[in-house]
């Protein structure tokens, strides 16, 4: 049974950037005279501009990096796309078809967010940017969903099938598709929870990201520098993985002359060693395998991060079967009189008698059930 395009395995990277301090800016005390009105409503221009600059800067950073390594298609793949904006936050998404794309994209994101940071700080020095990234595997653990246009909603009886058909059309024409896709699932929830621990210094990551970076030695590709990854311990995240402790890894964005940097040296807070990260993540996935699994990429070029959990193929196959499962009500069988000679009709003179027996039985069950309930 051929896998429909929307059910092909995809590992997505989500990139979030959020303005820090915007709520306080919007909630500042009202104007005391008309002359202050301009200042009071000045927050809007910053946020409006932030949306534009976020897209521009990521696109530019991507193009610049891409231009420097024109013969490395596998290391880039498609450019990240804007998924959605939520208040003062922008979120981009990208399908990873090769593990090297993870480090390349994270570096682009760091560069892009620096530009966003400069943009907002120039307009209001009390503002800053915090950012986060997380991974989510589709379509078993997490799902894509779409809503049809209003006129198509009336006759939708199977939400899974109608959403799948729209997604298939989208994947057949991604360039021209206007479909608005949402992503839902436990990994997305984890991403938002983890993102709440981000600060302008701490670029927080879901556990799959340090795992892949530690496992694959991204600097070997020569396309990127290294990341300084820190570990802040683990803690329960509300509603996540049945309440088990979730690890908080982050990439350090502080400058070498910053007070944060010197404070770390003073207190002995050091970046985590690559092998330690890998071993920790392995243990995490082993211990919590009923909730989560190691990320994997299924593509022709991927060799290192390609191992699926043992049970994955069976569930994936069931998803495909269910997508192709026919609507009961649309299957009527052969027309009357074309029953392939296997019908066994009951003679007309016995029919009424046999039907009466059935009806009597059903009436009896009904009465008995009613008696049971009343007693």
């Amino acid at each position: 049974m051929e896998c429909p395009e929307f059910l092909r395995p995809r590992l997505r990277l989500f990139l979030s950037a959020d303005i820090v301090g915007s709520t306080a800016l919007k909630q500042t005390r009202g104007p005391v005279d008309v002359g202050d009105l301009r200042k009071h409503y000045a927050w809007f221009s910053v946020i409006q501009g932030f949306y534009v600059v976020a897209r521009q800067s990521l696109s530019q950073c991507w193009a610049e990096r891409r231009g420097k390594w024109p013969d490395n298609d596998d290391c880039f793949g498609d450019e990240p796309e804007l998924w959605k904006t939520i208040g003062d936050e922008v979120i981009f998404e990208k399908v990873l078809t090769d593990h090297r794309q993870l480090a390349v994209t994270l570096h682009c994101w760091v560069e892009a967010v620096e530009e966003m940071r400069n943009f907002v700080k120039l307009r209001n020095s009390s503002l800053d940017i915090k950012y986060a990234a997380w991974l989510a595997g589709f379509p078993v653990r997490n799902k894509e969903v779409v809503l049809s246009h209003k006129e198509e909603l009336e006759n939708q009886d199977d939400y899974n099938k109608s959403s799948g058909l729209l997604l298939n059309e989208h994947y057949a024409n991604t360039e021209s598709s206007q479909l608005s896709i949402d992503y839902v699932g436990p990994s997305i929830d984890i991403g938002f929870r983890v993102a709440s621990y981000a600060t302008p210094r701490k670029f927080v990551l879901s556990v799959g990201i340090p795992y892949i970076l530690a496992l694959t030695s991204p600097t070997q590709s020569g396309l990127i520098g290294d990341f300084r990854i820190f570990y802040d311990g683990s803690r329960p995240l509300k509603g996540v993985l049945g309440g088990v402790n979730y690890p908080l890894f982050w990439i350090d964005l502080s400058k070498e002359d910053s007070i944060d940097y010197h404070e770390d040296r003073l207190t002995g807070h050091r970046e985590a060693a690559r092998d330690d990260i890998r071993r920790y993540c392995d243990a995490f996935y082993e211990e919590h395998d009923i909730y989560t699994h190691r990320p994997f990429i299924q593509s022709p070029t991927e060799q290192q991060i390609s191992k699926k959990p043992e049970w994955w193929d069976e569930l994936h196959s069931n998803l495909i079967k269910n997508f192709y499962l026919e609507d009961d009500s649309a299957s009527e069988g052969p027309a009357e009189g074309a029953d392939l000679g296997i019908d066994q009709p009951v003679d007309e003179d016995k029919w009424q008698e046999r039907v009466s027996v059935i009806l009597g039985l059903l009436s009896k069950f009904q009465e008995e059930d009613s008696d049971d309930k009343s007693s």
Partner: protein, 177 residues
């Protein structure tokens, strides 16, 4: 595929017209009118309806109906379908229960002691359950009267609280479209 302790539903081989006729008789006997609450009817005769996320279940290995006794059966409805689709699904499972369990028991035709119906069973057994559901939810006289009055299959479907594809098939079967 076998489910431990249960036997799979097998066809009764009644012709289409007799299945339709039986379905309408059952609806009359149980005083079920088109558009009535079918969940309540199932409960009245000892059954239960459970909504379940079935997308990760193998439809060729998971049941949509489990019958433990005449007055004890469970219908599983998928969580990803609409209310009108669910009504047809429930009527379809009721068809399995009546045709492939009660009918066989009442006439000694090698009846199963405990029976299940797969979400994706053989063609014949599924057709029989569909004919039953169609006759049960859309009795001929009522359907003809509504069609004559409304002159539109979609309007008839809305009045009978069934999906458009189900009503279109019934209209074709009655020679109305």
């Amino acid at each position: 595929m076998r489910i431990a302790g249960y036997e799979e539903a097998t066809p009764c081989f009644l012709p289409k017209r007799q299945v339709y006729s039986l379905a309408e008789s059952v609806a009359n006997q149980l005083e079920h009118k088109p558009g009535d609450d079918i969940h309540a009817l199932v409960e009245r005769i000892g059954g239960t309806v459970t909504v379940q996320d079935t997308l990760m279940e193998d439809p060729e290995r998971s049941g949509s109906l489990y019958v433990d006794a005449h007055d004890d059966f469970r219908i599983i409805v998928p969580a990803h379908t609409s209310g009108v689709r669910d009504r047809f699904t429930i009527a379809h499972e009721l068809g399995h229960y009546v045709l492939h369990y009660v009918w066989k028991h009442s006439h000694g035709e090698n009846p199963p002691e405990r029976m299940y119906a797969l979400r994706k069973g053989s063609e014949r057994v599924e057709w029989e359950a569909n004919w039953f559901a169609s006759g049960f939810l859309m009795p001929e006289a009522h359907f003809r009267e509504a069609f004559q009055r409304l002159r539109n299959v979609a309007a008839v479907a809305a009045e009978l609280d069934v999906s458009l594809p189900a009503a279109e098939i019934r209209a074709r079967q009655l020679g109305l479209a």
